[in-house]
Symmetry: none
DNA sequence: TACGCCAGTGAATCACACC
DNA sequence: TGGTGTGATTCACTGGCGT
């Protein structure tokens, strides 16, 4: 059973006819549906499996609004063992349909990615890279109990350790990345705004829709035009939409008919236009911010150092966490700079100075040392 | 057997004597050595285990110079199963010596981190975050067959799922990061230059020496001054050096005497930061609790006073016992604050305001008056 | 039309002391 | 041990509405 696409391109009579499952969504359990495909028939797998989040109570923002948690039934597993068994089953099914030179991508978070990586290695896949998706606009940590969970991890692996010449479009990626080798960290925003599929009530159709820019990089790097990309957890079809846009074929498997229907109409609306898309997806690696604490880590300022204003009139002492202390008041370089001047705001980088011999230099000079070091590398 | 440190601070006679293993390097296999430590004796573990790299043949740069790969004997394992058994053994040993409220950090790359993460979850550790170290100056990929491997992954986990109040210096990290909460991606350079330990021939002493900046952030976030940090793969002692600098105790285990010797002289040369500079920013949670009734006792609020929300729309009257009354309903400042807004919860301290002239100020300001008085006394 | 303000929201394993 | 009550806690971005 499958969801048929409309307006599938006609196959020219002199070519091999395309298999019936191409550019389709197979409706059903992914392991069962994959059995219907011939072995060694797809070039790349991209999989976004359930993460097995283990949430307890509801979480509220500081303003008391409720966080819309991912509590769908498809994300519930009884135990790590059950999750491992599930993972093993779908990875084995994917391995069978992958061509020997094929590669596989899986995305996950710390809840599940270690399990997936271990199973995948045990099955004989060979990890080529792990790639981290750095979210430029992640949800904050509302209770102040952990670091902001600001990234997800993708594993990129070949089918076998001795895989024959898997596809990696090194030069294309380098050109894409302003003539620098593409790194294993990709900074991209979440899928929001007009790209996010909404239902008639304005509610999101799928709780974990991935941004097209992510799939764009994945497919650009590891597939060629005309390749077949399998997504065993198709959801609302981001993989299919980007595949079509880039002139790749897709096969999706999805259990939920509502997701599959949304995916199919979404993909039908896609215009293949790779050249234009390249422009919109391309982005420089965001220049990392350098917080004041970085100067302490780098040993450029030691805890206990006294900073002064340019004239030496106001002073403050640097603490290990990068906060300043003066007259019993503590805060960031900016807050304390404002405080000692009786102002609302202050640029601490230019206000505070450190002693160098008899001279005083702004701490901004030290930040420049860090930036120069990063640029030189 | 251990490597003794020089100039260990004398323990004052009236204090509990420090255990003999504190601020020492235990020379030997980490599982065997850890058996000598009492259980529940360390606050945090930082582990940089062997990576299980499986390199075949030598890797050459485009100019044919040989890359100095990590191919030391200690980094070779026969199989994933052997690596998993090794991982299980040292993680179990660490778990025994960890305090119930302790946390553990492990750093690794895609070669081993999935194995480590899985074993750690299976042993009952509870992952709090995975943190990626983004290398600002990674080694390029010379063959052009993969993405530049530009990051490593750290797992931060509590000893148990229901761990009691593990240490996370949220406010300190926020101050460190220019008043934004710290994210799970940290951009830091590799350990190079003067920080990198070299032997008499200018060769690096250890192949995978970690930058002190990385440990600075780890220890600042998850330990307090005086805590004990265990590093079961001590190497050249980055963990010990930063621990000493930040006023934390360390225990190291290292199998290789050359590494241990290099570590000990390195640590002896470290100058600890002054105690005063080790004080870090604390949030309201660290402040003593003041019940609302205390404001009435202190005469800062009189019974019968009318409180309002910030905009003056909702009102309530203070009763002599510190409860509020509005529309016939009575309860605590929090309960009534929630009630008038139709919410489940509310922080009454910030919700309710008192009149001062024409302005309204939150009752939290009055609480601060009491706290300031306590601090002055 | 431009701009400012306010409300809404995103894969989240998000208290703890006290009785 | 569990139940109860206090009260701590958010970043980047989008979209709608009002001036």
């Amino acid at each position: 059973m499958s969801v048929k696409r409309k307006g599938a391109p006609a196959t020219a009579p002199h070519q091999n006819p395309e298999p019936a499952w191409l550019d389709q969504i197979l409706l059903g359990d992914c392991v069962a549906e994959l059995e219907k495909l011939p072995s060694a028939s797809v070039d790349v797998v991209f999989a976004d499996p359930p993460y097995n989040l283990q949430l307890e109570g509801a979480l509220h923002r500081p303003d008391q609004s409720k966080v819309d948690a991912v509590d769908d039934a498809w994300d519930q597993f009884e135990s790590f063992a059950a999750y491992d068994a599930f993972t093993r089953a779908w990875l084995m099914a994917c391995r069978r349909v992958l061509k020997p030179s094929g590669t596989l991508w899986v995305i996950g978070s710390y809840h599940n990615i270690f399990r997936v990586g271990t199973v995948l290695q045990d099955l004989g896949f060979w990890v080529l890279n792990d790639v981290v998706w750095l979210k430029s606009n992640p949800m904050p940590n509302f209770r102040g109990k952990r670091f902001t969970n600001a990234h997800e991890t993708m594993i990129w692996a070949s089918r076998d350790r001795k895989a024959k010449s898997y596809t990696f479009n090194y030069e294309a990626l380098k050109a894409f990345n302003d003539d620098l080798q593409m790194r294993s960290d990709w900074t991209l925003p979440l899928c929001t705004g007009g790209e996010r599929l909404k239902d008639g009530n304005g509610q999101k159709v799928h709780p974990t829709q991935k941004p097209e820019a992510l799939l764009y990089r994945v497919l650009l790097s590891s597939t060629n035009p005309g390749d077949v990309v399998l997504d065993p957890f198709f959801g609302t079809g981001t993989t299919g939409a980007v595949a079509k846009r880039l002139g790749r074929h897709f096969v999706g498997v999805e259990r939920d008919r509502a997701y599959a229907d949304a995916a199919m109409s979404r993909i039908d609306a896609v215009e293949p236009a790779p050249d234009m898309a390249l422009e919109t997806t391309k982005g420089k690696r965001a220049q990392p911010r350098i917080p004041f604490g970085r100067l302490l880590e780098a040993g450029l300022i030691a805890p206990g150092t006294e900073l002064t204003c340019a004239k030496g009139r106001n002073t403050a002492v640097v603490r290990a966490d990068g906060s300043l202390e003066t007259g019993g008041v503590t805060g960031s370089i900016h807050k304390i700079g404002a405080h000692v001047q009786g102002l609302d705001a202050c640029n601490g980088w230019t206000y505070w100075h450190f002693a160098e011999g008899k001279a005083r230099r702004p701490i901004d000079d030290l930040r420049q040392v860090i930036r120069d070091g990063m640029a030189a590398a």
